[in-house]
Symmetry: C2
């Protein structure tokens, strides 16, 4: 049976956090043994809404790579590539732009929501509206069969598959491959403040690269139960971030269950459960910190990894592009 | 003094005709001695409204090249390139998409007019709206200082220069160069039917590649003066295509002036002036036909010319792209 091909990745706009770890990184480490996995650092896509701050994107490419290496994504097993180092993706993007109408692009629910969120109003850049087309180029260049996404990204896969079908029908070929969205089953990890999403701009994220001190401080400031004032008071477990995180990261489920009972009864202070969470998270992050430290000062080695992965990605993308050009009669 | 750099070219959607010859080809043959000239066969741009008929675009690449060679554009003096063989142009296009808003793109007067003409309605492809951005990539990649255009294409140069200014300001560099539009001074050559524009779709064009027979037939069917029924009748010279063409192509201006007087008085038949025009045009086209015949059967030589020119174009475009990437901090 043919191996599945996975395309996944991140926009290099900030370091990765526990939400990323839980939502996708763990899975990638698993899948790199079963599938052919492409992990893309999407600098071009990041530029569509950060073109005024390219230095931020540049800086975070290495941060994100360090996060990958820290969690165990192995450049020998996964192809880690930088989007802008695979020029075939630009060419595919430009060809696919002909296959999508302006109205269809503006109707994309994800794009619509994001235009509103970003307050673009009447000045939405063409590049932003076109970014699902650029994603279609990424997915199809590597002939990905599986693309792990959050629910909000489903319209992106739909758009990519529409392009695949239009292209294959129009040029009467079987060159491009439809991808299947793989929905993350794990629930989204909320921020330390209890907000539904962990995010850099919200200032409620615990980063994989946080030092022990920073981690401790963030956990000590976590949202628990505002009515749980004295240790003796009975406390609420639902919506209490410390328990939410313990549920996810503490493998001693029985002990966590007992702690919850105790907390609900009263007599268990926030500091106790927070210290436990710090310990649990430190155990998770400490090996990552060590791995990170191994590479962090060897910029040449990091760039070597990115260049090697991107070179391999170029090879694959060039094969697809040659087929695309042949289908379009551009194979002069 | 630094030589001017010219970017010019054609969409390969049909063979070139007398209107192209008069409006731009003559000038290119002159300018290739004075300037650094890039002549681009714009296959990617042609695909934005011909993506359903790529074979047409492919076929016409060689036709257009043969026309170039026939009129005397010399691959040793001008860089003749195929747009899709210069991948740097795709990458620049994608970056520039971030610098233009959807509304600005849709407000481009040329794009607006063409959307109406083509009857796109609600299904204008993104690629079509983005084609001025792709043109900006072409112009800036070669750092063109002069771009010969018709009046209807002025908004394209304006759009390109806007991108240049935005890019240089945003990244605080002096990398991209504004281009100056050079308006064609010659009046547009009307079609053989007297319509203001000579065009393939209008079926009123005399092609540079027309055989002597086809040429004769087209001239014999030319629009003259519908009220000039008998040879003895006085005839009208204004709007009479035979005289319009004689004015442009017959170098014996005195004789043409005499013929006009005679025609207006009456006593000069259409056949006489048509035969003269056939002779004049044959004299122009015959050397082109011979030159064409030299190359027409050597497809390998033709492709060689295109590949060599495109390789040179890639070198120049790669230099610009490296500067663009450095400005955008993408020079990993």
């Amino acid at each position: 049976m043919k191996k599945n091909i996975i395309l996944t990745g991140d926009r290099p706009t900030g370091p990765l956090h526990l939400g990323h770890y839980r939502g996708s990184l763990v899975k990638r480490v698993e899948l790199q043994d079963e599938c052919e996995q492409f992990v893309m650092i999407a600098d071009v896509q990041a530029l569509t809404d950060n073109y005024e701050h390219p230095e931020k994107v540049r800086h975070n490419i290495l941060e994100v790579l360090l996060d990958y290496l820290a969690v165990g994504i192995d450049p020998q097993k996964s192809t880690i590539l930088v989007q802008s180092l695979v020029p075939q993706l630009f060419e595919l993007t430009v060809y696919y732009l002909n296959l999508v109408t302006v109205n269809r692009a503006l109707r994309n629910p994800t794009v619509k929501t994001e235009i509103k969120q970003k307050g673009y109003g009447d000045s939405t850049p063409l590049g932003f509206v076109a970014y699902p087309v650029s994603q279609a180029a990424d997915i199809t260049a590597f002939k990905a069969t599986l693309v792990p996404v959050g629910e909000d990204q489903l319209p992106m896969i739909e758009q990519a598959n529409e392009i695949v079908r239009t292209f294959n029908r129009l040029y009467n070929v079987d060159v491009l491959v439809e991808a299947q969205a793989v929905l993350t089953k794990t629930q989204r990890l909320p921020g330390t403040d209890g907000k539904t999403k962990m995010g850099k701009s919200l200032g409620n994220a615990i980063y994989l690269s946080d030092s022990a001190d920073v981690l401790a401080k963030k956990v000590m400031n976590m949202y628990t139960d505002p009515d749980h004032i004295h240790v003796a008071d009975p406390g609420k477990v639902e919506g209490n971030m410390v328990f939410t995180y313990l549920d996810v990261f503490d493998l001693q489920h029985d002990e966590v269950a007992e702690l919850k009972e105790h907390y609900k009864r009263g007599g268990l202070g926030d500091v106790v459960i927070k210290k436990r969470l710090i310990e649990v998270l430190d155990e998770l992050l400490d090996p990552m910190r060590k791995k990170r430290a191994e590479f962090a000062n060897d910029k040449a080695a990091l760039m070597g990894i990115l260049h090697a992965g991107s070179a391999r990605a170029r090879e694959i993308a060039a094969q697809t592009l040659a087929q695309v050009r042949a289908a379009m009669k551009l194979d002069y």
